[in-house]
């Protein structure tokens, strides 16, 4: 850390500066204060230099029209973020930078910024990096709406509709008239404190199919299980919810106040990439052949997400939602309808955590109701596995698939077996447990899965001894750092999975088990652990960031290998250090350092030998 100066130099890229350079920086900083909505740099201006936000929030907008709502927001900047570098170096700004709220910024004059870039190559690299991203943005500037900005769009009044509330006692006829007059296709009703939704198709079904009299109270047919999002959340999350629940609308709440409704059609207008189109194709598919087309599109989607620099976590969420839908659809196509309520298809491992981007393998299993008589079970599951392989989900090398009878079990055997694994705790058992803990239900009767998961969470919590030996697995692979803190390079490259991703995933999994956290996703588990005070805030955030960085390197590596026509079985996790620039190496090294700290944390917590 640098001396007592007020400026926070602990963040990238400023922590790349040495003491002299830092002093130069410190001596030349001014502080600007901006009111909410004040334009800090407008398009065409020559900016004074680099702006670093001390406190506040700034949007980078493309303001073609005077109406700010139509301006495309490219980026939101907040505390410790910086902006204006590209504009400063290029000479003039191509976007407006507007304070979203009162904002205090440091301002570093362009001349000093240039001095620092020339003096310190690492610092320079960092700006070149972000500059190439900015160049990307410039290229897309004239395209119609693009993914990047879609990802950044937030839920506010510009993208949601007002929620129309039907007065109490409105009957079906009046409700139909109301919607027709207002030209809306859904309205809300209130029952006590709960809100329910009535759509036009609900009305149609009620009157035509259920033959309800048109004087029926609209509250009778409303659906009270509303899926909600918080105002201010990313619009993207609303889309994920719609994708996941296969619905067309979500209700926007703001601290438990009803705020509005987001319609799929509205989000589509924000949106040009194919994720929902893929989703629709999956939905409409009536044969395995048709699913194949949708599955093929997902490969393209991954590349476009990657090239647009979408955050790894968002890409994971989106792909996971699509994968789950595809698998569920396929399952429904293959398994007879009368069997569906008695079985539950679960995905496990990385798929279960929702962390697979490039399809590496399929890990799945089937939990059945006790005493289910289904002679065609094995044959059907074999077909399912083969169909999934046909859709581009490679078979699991460890045979964790539904065509393996070992992973197709009645619920009592499924749970009893987990108990045996806990008792036995040898390496095979621990591996099987790790896989099953991350199970997530995708099709069939999800209650079967919930029973088994709740049992597991209760059971494991009391097994401190077992948790200890389970935790030790996280230390199985050495962190690829040498004793000086540099990355230990092997001829084959650095294995980011064994060296970094696995210890994080597994360590977090053990902690999540101990504290009965029902989440599967590593990010969500970490967030819950922070909330519970199990993980220190700082370590937790560092872990999430490192996890993203490592996953990003892995994704880049896999895509690169795919381009060179590696078959899926040949994909490895060995990132070649020589191909990375200084900054990338630095990021990787820092991530491994965090992994090392986390292992230490685990060792202390579970009293393990320090096998770092």
């Amino acid at each position: 850390m640098h001396s007592s100066g007020a400026f926070n130099a602990d963040v990238l890229p400023f922590n790349l500066l040495d003491d002299d350079e830092y002093t130069l920086l410190q001596d030349n900083l001014d502080i600007g204060y901006y009111e909410a909505k004040e334009v800090i740099i407008s398009t065409g201006d020559v900016p004074e230099g680099l702006y670093i936000i001390l406190k506040g929030c700034v949007s980078e907008l493309d303001v073609k029209s005077a109406d700010k709502r139509l301006g495309h927001t490219f980026v939101h900047y907040t505390n410790n973020d910086y902006f204006g570098a590209w504009s400063a170096l290029r000479g003039s700004s191509i976007h407006d930078f507007v304070a979203d709220e009162e904002t205090i910024c440091y301002i570093l004059p362009t001349k000093v910024l240039l001095d620092l870039i020339y003096r310190n190559p690492n610092f320079g690299d960092f700006f070149n990096k972000s500059l190439s991203l900015q160049n990307e943005l410039l290229k897309q500037k004239n395209d119609s709406l693009n993914m990047t900005e879609f990802m950044l769009a937030r839920i506010d009044s510009s993208c949601m509709r007002e929620a129309s509330l039907l007065p109490d006692g409105t009957n079906l006829e009046e409700a139909t008239q109301f919607m027709s007059d207002q030209q809306i296709d859904c309205a809300l009703v209130q029952r006590g404190k709960r809100y329910g939704m009535v759509t036009r198709s609900d009305l149609l079904n009620a009157i035509v199919l259920d033959k309800l009299p048109i004087t029926t109270d609209a509250r009778v047919i409303a659906n009270y299980r509303l899926i909600t999002v918080e105002s201010g959340d990313y619009l993207f999350n609303a889309l994920i919810l719609m994708t996941l629940h296969q619905i067309d609308r979500v209700v926007v709440m703001q601290s438990s106040e009803l705020h509005g409704i987001i319609d799929l059609a509205d989000t589509l207008s924000y949106f040009s990439s194919h994720s929902h189109v893929v989703g629709l194709r999956i939905e409409r598919a009536s044969s395995i052949e048709e699913l194949k087309g949708a599955a093929g599109d997902m490969g393209k989607l991954i590349r476009s997400l990657y090239s647009q620099g979408v955050k790894v976590r968002f890409a994971m969420d989106l792909l996971a939602a699509l994968n789950k839908r595809l698998m569920s659809k396929l399952f429904n196509l293959i398994v007879p309808e009368n069997v569906l309520p008695h079985v539950c298809l679960v995905v496990m491992g990385s798929e279960g955590r929702g962390e697979q981007i490039v399809r590496i393998d399929q890990d799945n299993g089937l939990i059945m109701r006790d005493g289910l008589d289904w002679p065609e079970c094995h044959e059907t599951m074999e077909r399912y596995t083969q169909a999934l392989v046909g859709l581009g989900y490679p078979p699991c090398p460890g045979q964790v698939m539904v065509n393996n009878p070992f992973w197709v079990q009645p619920i009592s055997t499924w749970t009893q077996r987990m108990r045996d694994w806990v008792a036995k705790a040898d390496s095979d058992s621990l591996l099987n447990l790790a896989i099953s803990i991350d199970a997530y239900p995708v099709a069939g009767n999800k209650a079967l899965f919930k029973t088994s998961r709740n049992w597991l969470l209760r059971e494991l919590q009391q097994q401190q001894r077992f948790l200890s030996s389970f935790a030790e697995v996280a230390l199985a692979f050495e962190t690829p750092l040498n004793f000086l803190g540099g990355i230990r390079d092997r001829a084959a490259g650095v294995d980011v999975k064994k060296g970094g991703i696995f210890p994080i995933v597994h360590g977090i999994r053990v902690l999540a088990m101990q504290y009965q956290i029902a989440e599967n996703n590593t990010y969500k588990r970490i967030e819950s652990l922070i909330k519970l005070g199990v993980l220190p805030q700082r370590l937790g955030s560092e872990l999430m960031e490192s996890f993203s960085i490592l996953q990003w390197f892995r994704l880049a590596h896999h895509l690169n290998q795919q381009e060179q026509d590696f078959s899926t079985e040949d994909l490895n996790n060995d990132v070649n250090l020589a191909a990375l620039d200084r900054l990338e190496k630095d990021l990787l090294r820092q991530s491994f350092q965090v992994v090392k700290d986390f292992k230490k944390h685990l060792s202390l917590r579970y009293r393990l030998g320090l096998g770092l």
């Binding site: 001014d30 502080i31 204060y33 009111e35 205090i104 301002i107």
Partner: protein, 208 residues
């Protein structure tokens, strides 16, 4: 105290005119748009006992705090350095060993500030202490017009609140109330910059 200061200042002006002092410029009315935020760290809160340890000042211009245009002086250590005060400002004797003699520091400060108005938090105290050292050496007290952010804050909050009530006027409370980050509390430079941000924030039209 304020009236006494004014009277003294008039006397000072008269004296300076008579003497055709090189400091005459300091007493001219300032025409520009800049202000200077000032803070000093001392050994005691008792004006008569306080010895100056460091002086810091930054320029304010419009909605900008020109922290690149700053003055930060450390003084040579006083004869006694009370234990209690070291805990607050964290300046040990050893930190002050390279410090300037008081006369040199004051000269630099006067030149830096010039005739620009001064902004400070509870600035009356700082000025009183400075006066005590200035008079024997220069034969005049701090000549500048000054604004106390404490008064400014009180006025603003009363205007918006409407009710005459007890307002917490501690430095931290003001920062909190204005959502201004506290930078390096109890270092002269940190406090001077923070005070400057408070001033800019209070001067903006945003209501509180």
């Amino acid at each position: 105290m304020m009236i006494k200061r004014r009277l003294r200042r008039i006397k000072d002006v008269w004296k300076i005119r008579q003497l055709k002092s090189r400091w005459e410029l300091l007493f001219q009315r300032y025409q520009g748009k800049e202000l200077v935020s000032l803070d000093i760290e001392t050994t005691s809160l008792d004006i008569s006992k306080a010895q100056i340890l460091s002086i810091a000042a930054v320029v304010i211009k419009g909605n900008r705090v020109l922290s690149s245009e700053k003055l930060h002086l450390t003084l040579s250590p006083p004869k006694d350095l009370p234990r209690a005060s070291v805990k607050i400002h964290k300046l040990r004797r050893i930190d002050l060993n390279e410090g300037l003699p008081i006369a040199e520091a004051l000269e630099k400060m006067l030149k830096f500030i010039g005739n620009r108005p001064i902004v400070g938090y509870n600035i009356g105290y700082d000025l009183a202490v400075l006066d005590q050292y200035l008079r024997p050496l220069f034969d005049f007290g701090m000549p500048n017009r000054y604004i106390d952010v404490m008064d400014l804050y009180r006025k603003k909050t009363q205007l918006s609140g409407g009710v005459e009530c007890q307002i917490n006027l501690s430095f931290e409370a003001i920062c909190n109330g204005l959502d201004v980050p506290v930078l390096g509390r109890h270092t002269a430079l940190g406090d001077a910059i923070t005070t400057a941000i408070i001033y800019v924030r209070l001067k903006s039209s945003v209501s509180l």
